[in-house]
Structures are given as structure tokens and as C-alpha cells.
């Protein structure tokens, strides 16, 4: 029973993969059968999350689990379910639905293992497992050239970042003689230049995955080219998992190098906030726009982590949850409109409010949450991040981040203005929403409104750290 609980998320994912494979290899069925099967399997993940995750490790410390990690995995599983629900319209038009679910859940399994990794070997393998299916998924708008371009960019950039990561890993292994996190943490010292180089390399690898400036160049193109559900997955679930393992790496493995790590964090935070916000100002395509906004959001997480306290970790984990609801809400609207009409630029969404009131309000609420305006959860998320960052009295950095919130509000308002205040753009008719879509929108709105004002979510996280 203990093993079952330890591996509950991973087992559920494996089971889902097996079921999907069997269903795919059996006789061909209608698309809607596969869609419902997919929802059911994802629901299983959420159901599994209800059981407690015990503290423990397996396979000689390769795999570790704890209540906190279990909670993080539950966030990811829930996020994927939300994304699948929002993708309803896109899935119904798609010819390879079981493959979509298969690849998504495989990648999710990779992320589960990534979060739970207790050694660099596991970390590296899980990361690859998480990334490769996504690269394939990026190409799943099979008739759009941009989609295959996105896949190519994704695979090349992840290969590049993997190379950097493995170089860093090899340096660490060479100098400490171990791949296990606790051993490495024990043997690291701030004075050894080899360790500092290893930290820089690993940091760069993470920076690639998190699209931290200056390693963000792939983000906008991949986000724009990929199908919207895949973009959502990349920006919410995948990025969330990387933030989680990044916290572990920073605060557990590289704890002895903390002062140098903080320097890296501060520099990249400033760069990320600045570049992300400046580039978001001028974007026309909504997916590109959300790509740069998500880069800027990571900047805020870096600000918090540079505070270097355990409040920073709880603020970051909480922010990932809030960001999940907000970003899924925003992408859901973009995805629904894009799947129904093929339109995904700000200009084409002008006057959406006149034809689709519900979608407009959801998008506006999500964007205000991303901008950090109360009563949305985004306000609390941002506030706690800045609060965690202020722990070490780096007020200049906090002031810089706070000013960036003003810039961010400027470009989020651009979209809100287009939707609400401008005359309608022809061609976007009133859309009928399916039950799945309604459910997804309702869940993200509920998340945006409740997870902030009701403090339970944050307290649950903080209690585990």
C-alpha cells in the first residue's frame, strides 16, 4: 500500500498510457469515444490526488516523494485535465485524438518523475521523457507549416539545453563523485570554481526550459506555432513542473552556493522582467503575446526565489497554481475562438464582447489576474512573490518588479480594450460552448476568484514546506 501511494501519480499515468495504447491498437472508434476516454483517464489522475502522498523514496533514492511533491503533481494533473477540457473543440476536429492524449500523458509522466527525482540521472531522463512528446505535439496542427516549424525549434532548443545540462551534470559528477542530490549538496562548496561553473550550466539549462532571458528566444515562435492546447501545456504544466524542480535544485542541491545563485537570480530576474514586458507591448498575435507575458511572469518568480527563504518556495508554488488558473482561462478563450474561426490576433478579436460576452469576461478576468489586480488570485500571487523577494531587503529589485507590474497592466489592458471597447471585427460570430468548455471556463474562473480570497490553498502549500 505504501508503494502504491508513493507512486500513485506515476502509476495512474502508466495505466492511462496502457489503456490508450490498447484502445488505439484495437478497432477504430469515433473521435468522441477517444475524447471521453481521455477525459476519464485525466479525471483518474485528479481522483488519485485525493489520496495522501507519503514521505519516502524508492530505487535507492532515485525517486523521492513527499506530501509537497504529491501536491505539486496534483496541480499538474489538474492543469492537464483543465487544458484537455478547454481543447474540446480542437480535439473534435482532430484526426489523431488518442495520440494527443497518449503524448500528453507521457509527457506528464515525465514531469511527475522529474519533480520526484532524487538524483541527476533520474532528473535528466525524466526531463527528456517530458520534453520529447511535447516536441511531437507541437507539430500536431498537421496542415500548418508554422506548427512543424515550432516543433523543429522546440526539439533543437531542448537538445541544446539538454547538452548544457548534461555538461553541468558531468562536471558535478566529476567533482563530487555522486549523482544523488543529498550527496552533492553535502560535497559542494562555494569556493570551488568547478562547482560554480556547474551551477551556471545547470542554471542555464533550467533557464532554457523556463524561458528566462537570455534563453527565451525559442518561446515566442514555439508558442505561436503550436496548437493552442499544446501552448497552454507548455506554458502552464511544463513550466510549472520546471519551477518546482528548480526550487528543489536551488534550495536543496545548491544550498551551499546560495549567495552566488542569488546573484544569478537577481540578474536574470531583471533581464526577464524587462525583456518579457517590453516585447509583450508590441505583440499582435495573442499566443505570442501570452508567450512574452509568461516570460515576464517567470521574472516575478525569480524575484521571489532571490529572496532565498522558504516563503519564496511557498510563494512560487502558490503562484504556479494561480498562474495555472489564469493562464488556462486566457488560453481557453484564445483556443476556443481560434479553433472555431481560425482567428488569433488582437485585431481579429476586436469587439469580441459584442458577440461573445461570457468568453470576453473570462478572458478579461484571466488577464486581470495575470496583471495582479484584486480580487483575482493573481493579486495575492504577485503580492506574495514580491513579499518573498523583499525578505532580504532588496527593495530596489522589488521596486523594479512593482514598476513592471504597471507596464504589464498596460499591455493586458490593450487586449481588454480591444475586446470591450472597440467596434466588432467581422467574422467572429456568437459561439456555442460545449459542456466541456463551459466546465473548463467555470473551473478556471472559480480558481481565479476563490484561490486568492480563500487562503486555504496557500496555507496548504505553506504547511508542507
Amino acid at each position: 500500500m505504501h508503494y502504491l501511494l508513493l507512486l500513485k501519480h506515476e502509476l495512474a499515468a502508466t495505466l492511462a498510457i496502457v489503456v490508450l495504447l490498447v484502445a488505439r491498437l484495437g478497432r477504430n472508434r469515433e473521435t468522441s469515444f477517444y475524447i471521453h476516454l481521455g477525459y476519464l483517464l485525466l479525471l483518474l489522475h485528479v481522483f488519485v490526488s485525493l489520496f495522501p502522498s507519503p514521505e519516502g523514496q524508492l530505487f535507492a533514492g532515485l525517486f523521492v516523494n513527499s506530501p509537497l511533491l504529491g501536491l505539486q503533481k496534483s496541480f499538474l494533473a489538474f492543469g492537464l485535465l483543465l487544458i484537455a477540457l478547454t481543447a474540446d473543440r480542437w480535439l473534435r476536429q482532430h484526426e489523431y485524438v488518442p495520440e494527443v492524449f497518449l503524448l500528453m500523458i507521457s509527457s506528464l509522466l515525465g514531469l511527475f518523475l522529474l519533480i520526484s527525482s532524487g538524483s541527476l540521472l533520474m532528473f535528466y531522463l525524466a526531463l527528456e521523457l517530458a520534453t520529447l512528446p511535447i516536441a511531437a505535439l507541437c507539430n500536431f496542427d498537421l496542415r500548418r507549416q508554422q506548427s512543424s516549424e515550432a516543433a523543429t525549434k522546440m526539439i533543437l532548443s531542448s537538445a541544446f539545453s539538454s547538452a548544457i545540462l548534461s555538461f553541468g551534470i558531468s562536471l558535478l559528477y566529476g567533482s563530487t563523485g555522486s549523482l544523488r542530490f543529498p550527496d552533492i549538496a553535502q560535497r559542494l562548496s562555494g569556493s570551488d570554481p568547478l562547482h560554480v561553473i556547474a551551477l551556471v550550466l545547470l542554471f542555464s539549462g533550467f533557464a532554457f526550459k523556463l524561458s528566462v532571458v537570455p534563453f527565451h528566444l525559442w518561446t515566442a515562435d514555439v508558442y505561436q506555432g503550436s496548437p493552442v492546447p499544446v501552448t497552454t501545456y507548455l506554458s502552464v504544466v511544463s513550466k510549472g513542473a520546471i519551477v518546482f524542480i528548480f526550487c528543489t535544485a536551488l534550495f536543496q542541491v545548491f544550498a551551499p552556493l546560495q549567495s552566488f545563485g542569488r546573484l544569478l537570480l537577481i540578474i536574470t530576474a531583471v533581464a526577464t522582467l524587462l525583456i518579457g514586458n517590453l516585447f509583450a507591448l508590441r505583440q499582435e498575435n495573442l499566443k505570442r503575446f501570452l508567450a512574452f507575458s509568461s516570460i515576464a511572469q517567470v521574472g516575478f518568480i525569480l524575484v521571489a526565489l532571490s529572496g532565498g527563504t522558504k516563503e519564496a518556495v511557498s510563494a512560487a508554488v502558490y503562484f504556479v497554481l494561480v498562474y495555472l488558473f489564469s493562464n488556462v482561462g486566457a488560453f481557453a478563450v484564445v483556443g476556443i475562438v481560434s479553433a472555431a474561426t481560425g482567428k488569433e490576433t488582437i485585431t481579429e478579436l476586436r469587439g469580441l464582447y459584442h458577440s461573445n460576452r461570457l468568453l470576453s469576461w473570462v478572458l478579461a478576468l484571466s488577464l486581470f489576474s495575470l496583471a495582479g489586480i484584486p480580487p483575482t488570485a493573481g493579486f495575492f500571487g504577485k503580492f506574495f512573490l514580491l513579499m518573498a523577494g523583499a525578505h532580504s531587503s532588496q527593495y530596489a529589485l522589488i521596486a523594479f518588479a512593482a514598476l513592471n507590474m504597471v507596464v504589464a497592466l498596460f499591455y493586458y489592458l490593450r487586449v481588454v480594450r480591444a475586446i470591450f471597447l472597440e467596434p466588432p471585427f467581422e467574422g467572429v460570430q456568437s459561439l456555442n460552448l460545449s459542456t466541456a468548455e463551459r466546465l473548463a471556463l467555470a473551473l478556471s474562473v472559480a480558481g481565479i476568484l476563490i484561490s486568492g480570497i480563500y487562503s486555504g490553498a496557500y496555507e496548504a502549500i505553506a504547511a508542507l514546506i
Binding site: 506574495f384 512593482a402 507590474m405 470591450f420 496557500y458
Partner: protein, 492 residues
């Protein structure tokens, strides 16, 4: 009395309007909600005066405290002193008047009234908070309603103006945020006002936290040179939006300055007082000079608001108890007066379809009621005894004269001189609009009962305060120990 009622009723009204406010029913539901709010506010006044006579030495009454985010030591903490009660009363008056003025909104009334009530809820929240996090939360709550109200229902360059207003206020909030975090970490990891003022903020930190917070809140109250959002925002907003913005939202800044900035950092307040006095004087004089150049009625009132809010800043900067009372009185007086002004401008615009002063004339022949009210509002603005403006401004002057240094005295003289300037632009504008031969085409639309009620409500507030200021003076002046220690700290 449970202060939560004053937060829940507006929020509940918003929810009810969203759920059931189809068509014209939205205005009705919103009105019912605002009447309840006004009732609660009056009840609060009565309960407060009764309770205060028993507990004279408690800083805040009717405190409600609930742990919000335990790991971060964040609490949801409400409480009132005399200043808050005065501001709550003002809010309730303006909210009801604003809602009554909006019965004729035909474009998406449901959304309009929901956003309007939400804006009111934010203001109540700020005035009732005695915890800086709670205060900041409610301060920011108003961002979405402000933007959408101006952007959707506004006129003229509404998009530009809405964006400018929201971004400048957000800049203020960003400064406030950094300042509050600074206070949090320097004064024992707490957001609670009483806890922070008991510990005190280290002097070295006050040096830079004070200007940060003061400027942040100052932007809300249109401190020079961050006043530019006022004319644009107020002129583009719909009538009720302008009433709310000028009547309530601008007061959030002054209130924030009093409640958090000078209260938590009295030492720095002494140090920066000359600067505040100078900024206040610039706002007063520059504001009224700029008003003289305006040709649009809404711009006229918006610039005169900058001038009048300068008195609030001046009153805070003078640092005496009387001047502080004057600042609070000015907030209440200006809130009522400017809301009345905007309501009247809305009524005029509906009939003349222009706001340009030069294109109007002789309107008293066709709309005697509206013009009489305009006259009253104008007289209040230039400080005619018997109306609220006089009471407030004189209190500031007297408070300023209590200080014997040169700067406060010069400031008072300068501020007094602005009354002449005010008279110039008010008399000139009213003369052009009301007197003389009838100019232009004027629609003969009777003033509806809701609008009459709104105007009379605000007018009665102005008269009540002008003819019998004693009750408000007493309310504001009631010995609040927190302020006494603040003042004694200054003297030492």
C-alpha cells in the same frame, strides 16, 4: 456594529445586479443596495458616537479581526475612528447619488451598475481597514471598475483617458506596495496599523519609505506633478463615474496619507512637512490658475478638484490637529461638492449636448432647477459661508496659523489667495452658462425624480455640513489616542 456589513452589502448588491439585473431592473437593485448602504452608514455614525462616549481611549472601535493568511501574518482587520466614519458617510451619500443619476443608462445597465457598486465596495473597504494589507487590497480592487466604466460608458477620448487614469493610479499603487513591504519588514513583520505604530519604523528607513508611500497615495489625490490623470479621466467618465472618481476615489489618497503615511512615520512626516506644504500650495494655486483657462465644464471641475485636493495635502502637511481636521473636512466637503457639480454637468449636457462653456448661455430661463443647483455648488466651491467648503477651508487656515514658522504662514496666505482665483472662474463660468441671452439649442427634458433626489441628497449634505459643522467637527476631532501619540511624538 459589525463593519463587515458595509463591505458585504455592496458586494452582495454587485452579485445580485449581475445575477438578476436584467435591463432596467439593474438600476432599481443598485438603488436598493445603496439605500441600505446609506442606512448602514448612518447607523454606523450613531453607533460610533454612542460607543465613543463610553470608550474614549481606544484607537479604533468595532474592530473585526480575522486571520487571513496565517503563515504570512496577514490579517483581515477592520475598525473605525472618527475619520473613517466621516469618509464612510461621504461614500454612502455619493454612491446613492451616483446610482440615482444613472437610472437613464440604457447601454448595458447590468454591467454598469455592477461595476459602479463594486467601485463603491472598494472605497468602503479602504475606509474601514485598519491593516495595510487589507487597505491595499481594497485600494486596488477599484482598478477594473474604473477602467471599464470610463472605457465603455465614457465619452470623448475615453480609451486613452481610461488607460492613462488606470496606469497612473497603478503607478501609485506600485509605490505604495513597495512602501508597505518596507514597513512590513522593518516593523516586526506585521501589516497591522496599531502594531506598526507601536513598534515604530526605524528612522533610517523612514527616510525613503515616507516619500515612497506619500507619493504613492499622493498620486491618488492628484498631487502635483502627478495630477494629469484627473482632468482626462474625469472628463471622459460617465456622470456617475466622474462623481465616484472625484467624490470618492480621490479621497482614497488623502485618507491613505493620513491613515498610513503620517500616522506610521511621524518623524519623517516632520522632516518632509515643508515639502508637503509646498506641494499642497502648488496644487492649490496652480490648480486654480489652470481652471481659469478651461473652456469645458468637466475640465473646469476636474482642475478645480486638483486645487481643492491641494487643501487636503496642505492640511496633512501642516501637522497640527486642527489642520488635520480641516483636511478631513475638506475631503468630505469636496467629495459632496464635486459629486454635485458633476451631476449637474451631466444634467446640463443631456440637454445642451455640449460641455463647452462658451456655447452655453441663459440656461436659467429653461432649466431653473439645474442652474440653481449649479449656483449652489459653485458657491460651495468658492467657499461661501453657510456651505461646506467654507468650513473646511477655514479650518485648514486656522490650523496652519497655529504654526508660528514662516513657511506655514506663507502657505496659508497663498492658499487664501486662491479663494479669489476660485471666485473668478466660478463666477465667470456660472455667469456665462446661466445668465444672458439663451444660446444654442436646448432640449426641454424634465429633470427626473431620481436625478432630483440625487442632487437634493448631495445638496442637503453640503448644507448640513455648512450650517451645522459641529457634529462633523466633533466626529473627526474625537480624541483618537493613536493620533495624540503621533502629535506628541512630533512635539518631542
Amino acid at each position: 456594529m459589525n463593519l463587515n456589513l458595509l463591505i458585504w452589502v455592496p458586494l452582495l448588491t454587485t452579485a445580485v445586479v449581475v445575477l438578476w439585473g436584467k435591463g432596467q431592473r439593474a438600476a432599481m437593485l443598485a438603488t436598493v443596495g445603496s439605500v441600505v448602504q446609506l442606512g448602514l452608514a448612518l447607523l454606523l455614525y450613531l453607533a460610533y458616537t454612542a460607543e465613543r462616549s463610553i470608550h474614549a481611549n481606544v484607537p479604533f472601535l468595532f474592530e473585526y479581526r480575522a486571520v487571513w493568511y496565517k503563515p504570512l501574518n496577514i490579517t483581515y482587520h477592520l475598525g473605525v475612528d472618527g475619520i473613517s466614519v466621516a469618509m464612510v458617510l461621504l461614500t454612502a451619500f455619493v454612491v446613492l447619488a451616483g446610482v440615482l443619476m444613472s437610472w437613464n443608462i440604457t447601454h448595458q445597465p447590468r454591467e454598469f451598475h455592477a461595476l459602479l457598486t463594486l467601485l463603491g465596495a472598494g472605497a468602503y473597504g479602504v475606509f474601514l481597514s485598519v491593516d495595510t494589507f487589507t487597505l491595499f487590497f481594497f485600494l486596488e480592487l477599484a482598478v477594473i471598475p474604473k477602467y471599464l466604466l470610463i472605457g465603455i460608458w465614457g465619452s470623448g477620448q475615453k480609451e486613452y483617458c481610461a488607460r492613462k487614469l488606470v496606469l497612473m493610479l497603478m503607478l501609485g499603487s506600485a509605490l505604495v506596495l513597495v512602501g508597505l513591504l518596507g514597513v512590513f519588514f522593518s516593523a516586526g513583520h506585521t501589516f497591522s496599523l496599531s502594531a506598526v505604530s507601536a513598534t515604530g519604523v526605524p528612522l533610517k528607513l523612514q527616510q525613503w519609505l515616507f516619500p515612497l508611500l506619500f507619493l504613492g497615495f499622493g498620486i491618488f489625490t492628484a498631487i502635483f506633478p502627478f495630477h494629469t490623470w484627473v482632468p482626462d479621466g474625469h472628463s471622459a467618465a460617465p456622470t456617475a463615474g466622474s462623481m465616484f472618481l472625484a467624490g470618492i476615489s480621490m479621497k482614497l489618497g488623502g485618507y491613505g496619507c493620513l491613515r498610513t503615511v503620517t500616522h506610521l512615520m511621524p518623524e519623517a512626516a516632520v522632516q518632509y512637512a515643508p515639502l508637503i506644504i509646498i506641494l499642497g500650495c502648488i496644487a492649490i494655486v496652480y490648480g486654480s490658475l489652470a481652471t481659469m483657462m478651461q473652456t469645458d465644464l468637466k475640465y473646469l471641475n476636474a482642475y478645480s478638484s486638483i486645487s481643492h485636493c491641494g487643501f487636503v495635502v496642505l492640511g496633512i502637511g501642516l501637522l497640527t490637529q486642527t489642520a488635520r481636521n480641516g483636511a478631513v473636512l475638506q475631503m468630505v466637503s469636496h467629495g459632496l461638492m464635486t459629486a454635485l457639480f458633476f451631476a449637474v454637468i451631466g444634467l446640463i449636457y443631456e440637454r445642451t449636448h455640449t460641455r463647452t462653456i462658451r456655447d452655453m448661455g441663459g440656461l436659467i430661463q429653461v432649466m431653473p432647477f439645474v442652474m440653481t443647483v449649479l449656483f449652489m455648488a459653485g458657491m460651495c466651491s468658492l467657499g461661501l459661508p453657510g456651505l461646506s467648503g467654507f468650513v473646511a477651508e477655514v479650518t485648514v487656515f486656522v490650523g496652519g496659523w497655529e504654526r508660528e514658522e514662516l513657511l506655514p504662514r506663507v502657505a496659508v496666505v497663498l492658499a487664501c489667495s486662491s479663494i479669489v482665483l476660485t471666485a473668478v472662474y466660478i463666477v465667470r463660468a456660472i455667469g456665462q452658462v446661466a445668465m444672458g441671452p439663451l444660446l444654442g439649442r436646448v432640449d426641454q427634458v424634465p429633470v427626473g425624480w431620481a436625478e432630483r433626489l440625487a442632487v437634493l441628497l448631495l445638496l442637503s449634505g453640503i448644507l448640513l455640513m455648512g450650517l451645522w459643522p459641529e457634529w462633523l467637527m466633533q466626529l473627526v476631532d474625537m480624541p483618537a489616542p493613536a493620533l495624540e501619540t503621533h502629535l506628541s511624538r512630533i512635539e518631542n
